[in-house]
């Protein structure tokens, strides 16, 4: 188990340092998915954690749990850096997506299982902004659909649908890359 994960699951923290340590890995994983490069992701994760540490004195546990508070900071930091599009832009993308037919592209489970993390993240980075953010919030930040929807300004059901579309697009990415041809 990754260092700090136990505390992350417990969702109680003695101080900002403990919160930071518990979530640094997940924040970085999210940042990798929404950033153009790993060094950019590290900068984003670093700056989000710095903001959280500096704001921790103002955190009020009566108003919500620490992880959700932290993710609001992380997502806002990413949005400030244009790594996450604005809600208006996302709404426009959503409207555009409605006009497109969707097709589920089967991908061999074995090939998917063999993918390296870097290959998977590279494919996520090639997705349109909205789908990239949905995948990053769901699997990078490990948030439930209600929280994903909250961050995107849509309902949980809407987030679930956007998630389905994003997965389809990700499968298309793999199909373009012919992952089946990789050496066994």
């Amino acid at each position: 188990m990754i260092r700090g994960e136990v505390k992350a699951r417990r969702r109680t923290y003695l101080d900002a340092a403990e919160l930071c340590e518990a979530h640094a890995g997940v924040v970085y994983r999210f940042a990798r998915m929404v950033s153009v490069s790993d060094s950019d992701a590290e900068d984003l994760a670093h700056d989000a954690l710095v903001k959280a540490i500096r704001a921790y004195e103002r955190f009020d546990p009566q108003r919500g749990d620490a992880p959700r508070w932290l993710w609001r900071i992380v997502v806002n930091t990413a949005r400030d850096r244009n790594r996450i599009a604005t809600r208006r832009h996302l709404a426009w993308e959503r409207l555009r997506d409605w006009t497109r037919a969707e097709a589920v592209v089967p991908v061999e489970d074995v090939a998917v299982a063999r993918l390296e993390d870097a290959e998977l993240i590279a494919a996520v980075r090639r997705l349109p902004a909205r789908s990239r953010v949905v995948i990053a919030l769901r699997y990078g930040a490990d948030l439930d659909f209600e929280t994903v929807g909250s961050e995107l300004g849509i309902s949980a059901a809407g987030a679930r649908m956007a998630h389905g579309r994003a997965l389809n697009q990700l499968r298309l990415e793999f199909r373009k890359g012919d992952i089946h041809d990789q050496p066994a």
Binding site: I2, D15, A16, A17, E18, C20, E21, A24, G25, V27, Y28, R29, V36, S37, D38, S39, D40, E42, D43, L44, A45, H46, D47, L49, V50, I53, R54, Y56, D80, R81, N82, R83, E102, V104, V107, D109, V112, A113, R114, L115, E116, D117, A118, L120, I121, I135, R138, Y139, G140, D142, R160, M161, G164, L167, N168, L170, R171, Q182, P183, A184
Partner: protein, 357 residues
């Protein structure tokens, strides 16, 4: 609308993406937050900050006791001062090519030489030289040919904490890496400061088998470490002033003539950075025009000044001479005094006053 099962092969694989953070990410964030914030951020943060500092100091003390070390200047300079961090060891001579590349050939007698390996890690990288005066801090690193120092994750600390400085890097003909921070060190007392250069990652270009019968990576980012040492600050500035707004090998120049009726234009010139500096994205944190009260007037989002020269199009011989330039523009602000505010990853910020007539 097709509803996919939550736990098919793809979602299961996505859920297994590693959440291992880069080494020292949390520590670096704590140190940056502590250094940036004059107001204490809480007992826990202070304790964590102390713990972060104490561990390397303890290691340094053990090394200091166990190994006889001396510090030497290249010429007849004085010895660096006391040892709250690891003392520079007897270094080998620094090649003249390095001194020329670092623009230190005229002050070579004031360059401190080291032979210090990275604090932890198996990477072949060493600190071999250092110089600081009222305008800059120059460090010379030596590493194996398969290793590339990335400037983005480089962070400098001195006696006063985080050093908020522009950063440039270039390779000497010998292959040694010259790293220049455009700020002096701040000794607590006297003229010698403890210094920590933090390298969160190094790029290792050795191909790595992918476990599927091939080698899918040309390079990987490798957890690195840090250099802890002491360095004298020269009392006066004997060299030309470095570009004050130099960021990761790129210098930003603001040209008043570039105020058009509709726009404010900022031009960025590449200034002899290494290949990886070109490949990096040096302005993702964005640039803003601030009002006199410090509030943000106009924001140019991240990426507006990004260098995007494909690495594959660059060769070692051409990287330093590329006439690379990036230009970005804002909608023109109303007449008045503003501050052009550059914010950089890792907490570095730069402000330049401008007048919009």
């Amino acid at each position: 609308m097709t509803s996919l099962p939550e736990k098919d092969a793809l979602t299961a694989r996505l859920s297994r993406i590693s959440a291992e953070p880069p080494p020292l990410l949390a520590n670096r964030a704590l140190m940056t937050a502590s250094a940036q914030h004059k107001k204490p951020t809480g007992h826990g943060v202070r304790l964590a900050y102390a713990a972060v500092l104490a561990f390397p100091l303890l290691i340094a003390a053990v090394v200091f006791v166990g190994v006889t070390r001396e510090s030497h200047r290249i010429g007849p300079g004085s010895q660096p001062g006391g040892a709250t961090t690891a003392t520079p060891s007897r270094g080998k001579s620094i090649p003249p090519e390095d001194l020329i590349a670092a623009h230190l050939e005229n002050v070579k007698d004031l360059v401190t030489r080291y032979d210090q390996p990275l604090s932890h890690g198996t990477i072949d990288a060493r600190l071999i030289g250092g110089y600081s005066d009222a305008a800059r801090t120059v460090l010379i690193l030596r590493h194996g040919p398969e290793v590339t120092v990335q400037t983005n994750p480089l962070t400098l600390y001195d006696d006063a904490g985080f050093v908020n400085a522009g950063l440039g890097a270039t390779s000497a003909p010998t292959g040694d890496q010259i790293v220049v921070f455009d700020a002096p060190l701040r000794p607590r007392t006297g003229s010698t400061s403890g210094v920590r250069l933090l390298l969160s990652t190094l790029q290792n270009s050795t191909p790595i088998p992918n476990g599927q019968g091939g080698s899918s990576y040309g390079s990987t980012l490798t957890p690195a470490g840090e250099f802890d040492f002491r360095l004298d600050v020269q009392p006066s500035q004997t060299l030309h002033t470095p570009a004050p707004t130099q960021l990761n090998g790129a210098s930003f120049t603001f040209d008043p003539a570039a105020l058009t009726p509709n726009a404010i234009v900022v031009t960025m010139h590449e200034v002899g950075a290494s290949i990886d500096d070109l490949y990096a994205n040096p302005a993702t944190d964005g640039v803003s025009l601030r009002l006199p009260d410090g509030s943000t007037g106009i924001v140019l989002g991240g990426g507006g000044l990004a260098l995007d020269a494909p690495k594959s199009q660059l060769g070692p011989g051409t990287a330093r001479s590329l006439p690379y330039k990036g230009v970005s523009s804002w909608v023109r602000a109303g007449a008045g005094r503003y501050t052009l505010h550059f914010q950089w990853g890792g907490g570095r910020v730069f402000d330049r006053d401008i007048l919009v007539p």
